[in-house]
């Protein structure tokens, strides 16, 4: 099940599980095994319908992994021997045995989500409901999670109802796909059918790359779903276009605004270096993406660049001046701003508006120009409707926008963004990319740390691959992703045998068409 944020897919999913059903007026009926769900016995509903939500942290109840696995079974009043067997089974099946005795707090996001799944599975559900379970995970953990779901479905015939907006992997393997829009079902059927139906819809934006390329090329034949099918499709129909390439200019930057030279950083004396001989030079007005695996120290690099963490060796300069030379908060006034991975950390007031004015007051901006500034920012970000809301009541995408808007009030020349697209759907990503370009036009430099290759390929001027404490490869997005074989966009993987330097959907589509705008014969 997929659809734009706020289209009602999560609400629908939660209504199926009566323990967590949202309050409100309900019409119609939801039938489970020929019985309306509100007539199901409590125990049956708790056991047979399992639910896993999107926040890995929020769903964990206890402090130890083994206890978490046993929690549901304890509630069901199972005997110790029964619980022992089932917990043991689950731990072995999900590969949890190695961290069985650890505390839940020490787990990574991916492990937490796997634990949530395993502890629901221990109750032996017949129907599994999942609400964007991979939205907070990095791509590798997300792929693992989806693979586990597929295995459960294949090996046990478990019915899975999954709400997801990252469709690249999930869409092709689904038996049935439901597209929702404004509380209604827009399309329902096999992936191929739905792909065909959605051609003209705005929902097409969130479909896998292969499908979008197929749309762009006039939708003939059967829509390809996976990278492999996309490749076959291009080979079958566009082999004549082989050898074409996207023209790429070498990047020529203006003056350097942010620079780090031979920076070394570690959190504690006895821990290994997180940054090792880290070098970077970012030029004025560019969007610079730092890509790399999870837990490699990308966020640390941002913290060092923003002056929050101090390196023990090497130096970083902002506008030619050492960061340590900026006294008090002068670095964070009209200079550097940082959007943390969890945008909620930016807000401290009870409405977004109060938060904005508080910041301006702290900056000693007079009242009338403060109002002007707030209006200006609200307009650029298009967040008028969010101003009077509590920050916690905003969706992930809205929080992200409002947080960035708040940072823009300090009129920074450089903004540092940590995983800005985490948990965002395709539409929010699109509008976020749009905002970044707007800011860029104002001469602001952006440095983005991200896992999201598609997003980086779309917005960046340059991309760097972060590995082993330093940036080991640095290039324009086209060069960068075409030289990477694994760490690259789906469009690049689909087209690399035919074309050179194509990394975006639009580029592939363009190369397949000839200069006159017609398709290759």
């Amino acid at each position: 099940m997929f659809g734009e944020s706020g289209c009602g897919k999560t609400t629908l999913l939660k209504l199926i599980k009566k323990e967590i059903a949202p309050y409100g007026e309900l019409k119609g009926s939801i039938i489970y095994n020929n019985k309306p769900i509100d007539e199901l016995p409590d125990k049956l509903s708790a056991c047979e319908i399992g639910f896993v939500g999107q926040n890995p942290d929020g769903q964990i109840v206890t402090d130890k992994v083994w206890h978490e696995l046993a929690f549901g079974l304890e509630n069901m009043g199972e005997s110790t021997n029964n619980i022992r067997r089932r917990v043991g089974e689950m731990a072995s099946y999900f590969g949890i045995q190695n961290w069985y005795h650890r505390s839940t707090d020490s787990l990574s996001g991916g492990q937490k989500q796997l634990l949530n799944l395993a502890s629901v599975m221990a109750m032996q559900p017949k129907l599994l409901l999942l609400d964007e379970p991979t939205s907070q995970l990095d791509p590798i953990a997300a792929a693992d999670f989806i693979a586990t779901l597929q295995k459960l479905n294949r090996e046990f015939g478990l019915t899975i109802l999954l709400v997801e907006h990252r469709l690249e992997e999930v869409f092709p393997i689904a038996d049935k796909v439901i597209a929702m829009d404004s509380g209604k079902i827009l399309a329902c059927g096999s992936p191929v059918e739905v792909a065909k139906l959605l051609q003209k819809s705005k929902l097409s934006l969130s479909l896998p790359t292969a499908v979008r390329i197929w749309y762009g090329l006039g939708s003939k034949d059967v829509p390809p779903m996976t990278v492999r099918q996309g490749k076959d499709f291009l080979e079958k129909h566009y082999s004549q276009c082989a050898g074409r390439s996207v023209a790429v200019d070498k990047y020529s930057g203006a003056e350097t605004v942010l620079e780090a030279k031979n920076v070394y950083f570690r959190y504690e004396k006895n821990l290994p270096d997180v940054l090792k001989n880290f070098n970077i030079a970012v030029t004025k007005g560019e969007i610079f993406s730092i890509l790399g695996g999870n837990g490699t120290g990308k966020t640390t690099a941002l913290n060092v660049l923003s002056g929050l963490d101090k390196p023990y060796k090497g130096s970083s300069n902002v506008f030619g001046k050492k960061i340590s030379k900026y006294k008090g908060n002068s670095l964070y006034r009209n200079m550097v701003a940082m959007l943390p991975q969890n945008p909620i950390a930016v807000f401290v007031q009870s409405t977004v508006k109060e938060d904005f004015y508080e910041l301006l007051k702290a900056m000693d901006v007079p009242k009338d120009s403060a109002e002007k500034k707030v209006n200006e920012v609200t307009e650029i970000f298009n967040i008028e409707h969010l101003l009077n809301k509590h920050p916690y009541d905003l969706s992930g995408g809205e929080q992200q926008k409002a947080a960035l808007a708040k940072l823009m009030l300090t009129e920074p020349k450089i903004i540092l963004l940590d995983e800005p697209t985490k948990g965002l759907d395709a539409f929010y990503k699109e509008s976020f990319a749009h905002i970044l370009r707007k800011i860029k036009d104002k001469g602001v430099t952006s440095i983005i740390v991200t896992h999201d290759v598609e997003f980086a390929a779309e917005v960046s001027d340059r991309c760097g691959l972060f590995f082993d404490g330093q940036i080991i490869a640095l290039d324009t997005p086209n060069e960068f992703f075409c030289n990477n074989s694994f760490y690259t966009t789906a469009a690049s993987r689909i087209s690399r045998e035919l074309f050179k330097n194509a990394v975006l959907c639009s580029q592939v589509i363009q190369l397949c068409s000839n200069e006159a705008g017609e398709e290759c014969p």
Binding site: K17, E19, I20, D42, K43, A46, C47, G53, D57, G58, Q59, I60, V61, T62, D63, K64, H67, A70, F71, G72, L73, E74, N75, M76, G77, E78, S79, T80, I83, R84, V87, S103, T104, D105, S119, V120, M123, N303, S306, L308, G328, N329, Y332, V336, A337, M338, P340, N342, I344, A345, V346, F347, V348, L359, A362, M363, Y392, K406, L407, T410
Partner: protein
């Protein structure tokens, strides 16, 4: 460190309680020294060489400091060494100070072992036997503490990067800390609602809860418990009958060397060295297994040749 900590939590709890109570309340140098040596032996089994060094660097100065404290404040005793401000500094007070230090350090070492062995899940298990639902709440709370810490660090960093918190004024900083604190409360409420839903989704509201644990009461547990109780009853008997009575003031009494009091001391010595013996036995067993395995291995190699 596996052997002793794998005992049943109930047995462990009884054991630590008996050692700690006796070490704290029996005022007798032999008992105090036994507790100290038992603590050293057990702690030594649980810590690495580096930790041991840092422990020594801590406990020896502490021993000296506590020892000097007593004669400064207590002037009783028949053997004055010199007078300080008109009050006597006596040999008895110094000796008593040393024994207080021995007792305090012994108790500290045992507490350290306790915290290493009785992990939160063992404690919660015992607690959950008595009060199952509060035990779940406690488990959830234990989970929240590190989460809150992490979130607070995140909020502080984010705010710092917006130029808050860097103000020179202490008052501003304090005000800001308070606000971060209130934000965290809001955040944890938000999280708590989600957790509560997750609990209900997994049937927390159902009746007839059971309490699961990884622990089984084995024969070894029973044996250890029986030995523990027998020894402690014997020691208390000894205390009750005055066989181990001892006093430092006004004159240090002689240690009773009757057969009965010697028996009490030995019983206590055995009690405090139980974990050490168990660990040693485990290591010997393990070495035995290992050499057997390698012997088998060489045998097989020979056969193959």
């Amino acid at each position: 460190m596996k052997a002793f900590s794998s005992m049943h939590p109930f047995v462990l709890m009884i054991y630590f309680l008996s050692v700690l109570i006796t070490a704290m309340f029996i005022n007798n140098p032999i008992i105090q020294f036994s507790a100290l040596f038992g603590g050293i032996a057990f702690c030594g089994m649980l810590t690495t060489a580096k930790q041991k060094l840092s422990d020594i660097a801590f406990y020896i100065p502490l021993l000296i400091l506590i020892s000097i404290t007593n004669p400064l404040f207590s002037h009783n005793g028949e053997t004055p060494l010199f007078f300080m401000n008109g009050n006597a500094v006596t040999l008895e007070a110094i000796v008593y100070g040393v024994f207080i230090a021995v007792m305090v350090i012994g108790v500290m070492l045992w507490c350290k072992c306790y915290s290493l062995i009785m992990t939160s899940d063992k404690f919660l298990y015992l607690f959950g036997r008595v009060l199952p639902k509060p035990a779940i709440v406690m488990s959830t709370a234990l989970r929240y503490i590190p989460m809150l810490k992490r979130q607070s660090a995140k909020v502080k960093k984010a705010q710092k990067a917006m130029g808050f918190y860097t103000s020179e004024s202490y008052f501003d900083r304090l005000r800001f800390s308070l606000r971060v604190y209130s934000v965290l409360i809001g955040w944890s409420m938000e999280n708590a609602v989600e957790t509560a839903k997750a609990m209900n989704a997994r049937g927390f509201k159902l009746k007839n809860h059971t309490s699961y644990s990884n622990y089984k009461f084995k024969t070894v547990d029973f044996l250890l418990l029986a030995l523990n109780i027998a020894l402690i009853i014997f020691v208390f008997w000894g205390v009750g009958s005055g066989a181990v009575a001892f006093s430092y003031y006004p004159q240090i009494t002689h240690i009773d060397t009757s057969a009965f009091s010697l028996a009490v001391y030995s019983a206590y010595l055995i009690l405090v060295f139980i974990p050490f013996f168990i660990e040693i036995q485990e290591r010997i067993k393990w070495n035995c297994y290992r050499s057997k395995i390698s012997a088998l291995h060489t045998q097989r190699m020979k056969k193959e040749q």
